[in-house]
Symmetry: C2
Subunit: 174 residues, 2 copies
DNA sequence: TAGATTTTGTTATGATATAACAAGTCAAAC
DNA sequence: GTTTGACTTGTTATATCATAACAAAATCTA
């Protein structure tokens, strides 16, 4: 299997990795968001911008009500529509993804490139890694087409044990 | 792309197809369920059995509360734990799948064969087709392993337009 | 600035899922 | 055939996730 997908190596890390400055991720994501919104004539309002930041500041996918609580702490309105509107906006703009199997939301590091969100989710530490995999995408389109099915969206969420948690588990046994 | 997967052609149809007697599906699924439960020393109690039947009788994935309402009509207890316990049992036994992106439950026609549930979901008619695809499964395991990730479960839910709805749409335009 | 459009505030409700503990059922062991 | 223990179900309450509907405010356009 080749692994020459476009932005695969760019963000295939765990957010908690000690070897990366997560602030850089956030800054970069926010800058991209600003640019994209301007390009598309969309308004990245205060609450939308802050929601995006808060999602990025979390090292794990963030639930809507977790995000709402954080926004409320900062003086934003604390009713559910506030957060769901912000999430809807960010999802539509491709700035975040929803992880269906967790009912949680995750910043996308490649918002400027059209792509599907594929995820590796650790059952143990709940870290989520987004990966891109053009071969799978192509194969799925072809497979669907075989059934006369025209593919529009893909929910690909893989769960299991990440390498760190696997090591930890092995250590515990030994 | 080869399509020589084990049970792919066995149930890759829409439930509403006029060319198949859905009662046969239900009877077969229930018989398999009985057998599997006996083999595994599990008890397919009245409510569990009836829940499974009701899920199969629906031509689309059934929500937990829809199922609960049907069970209540038949004199079963009408509190949520009743239905969620039945669903948990059927999921654990591999007799049904949950479609995460719909929060709904679907009978599995291949409960006797270990497999992952991959789904094609029509945005228009909401029919769901389960498919199996060994090539994808193998590729995903390998891809995860590259990241040191040990794969345990896969949520693969593809949405789009089924062939029938595509035809309908084309007809409407012409 | 007037009018249109978009965004936000607010209240209420709908939809999905689980916690906790009591009571009932069943089958093996005695 | 009763006891015992495991499993299953009943019951009440609550947690969690998401949207409807309409009013008010902010922003944009002309
Ligand atoms: Zn992404
Ligand atoms: Zn982990
Ligand atoms: Zn299945
Ligand atoms: Zn359809």
């Amino acid at each position: 299997m080749k692994t020459t997908e476009p932005h695969q190596s760019e963000h295939e890390h765990e957010h908690q990795s000690s070897s990366h400055n997560h602030n850089d991720c956030i800054d970069s994501a926010l800058a991209t968001a600003e640019t994209l919104c301007v390009q598309q004539g969309q308004r990245l309002t205060k609450v939308r911008r802050r929601a995006l930041e808060l999602i990025w500041e979390s090292h794990r996918p963030l639930g809507a009500y977790q995000l709402l609580a954080k926004l409320a702490e900062e003086g934003f309105n604390s009713a559910p529509p506030t957060v769901y509107r912000a999430l809807d906006f960010l999802l539509a703009a491709g700035l975040i993804h929803k992880v269906e199997s967790m009912n949680a939301y995750l910043g996308c590091a490649h918002a400027d490139k059209a792509h599907k969100g594929y995820f590796l989710i650790c059952d143990d530490c709940h870290n989520v890694m987004e990966f891109d995999y053009q071969d799978i995408h192509t194969a799925l389109i072809a497979k669907a087409a075989q059934q006369g099915f025209e593919l529009r969206a893909e929910t690909i969420e893989l769960t299991g044990l990440c390498s760190k948690c696997k090591s930890k588990a092995a250590g515990a046994i030994a």
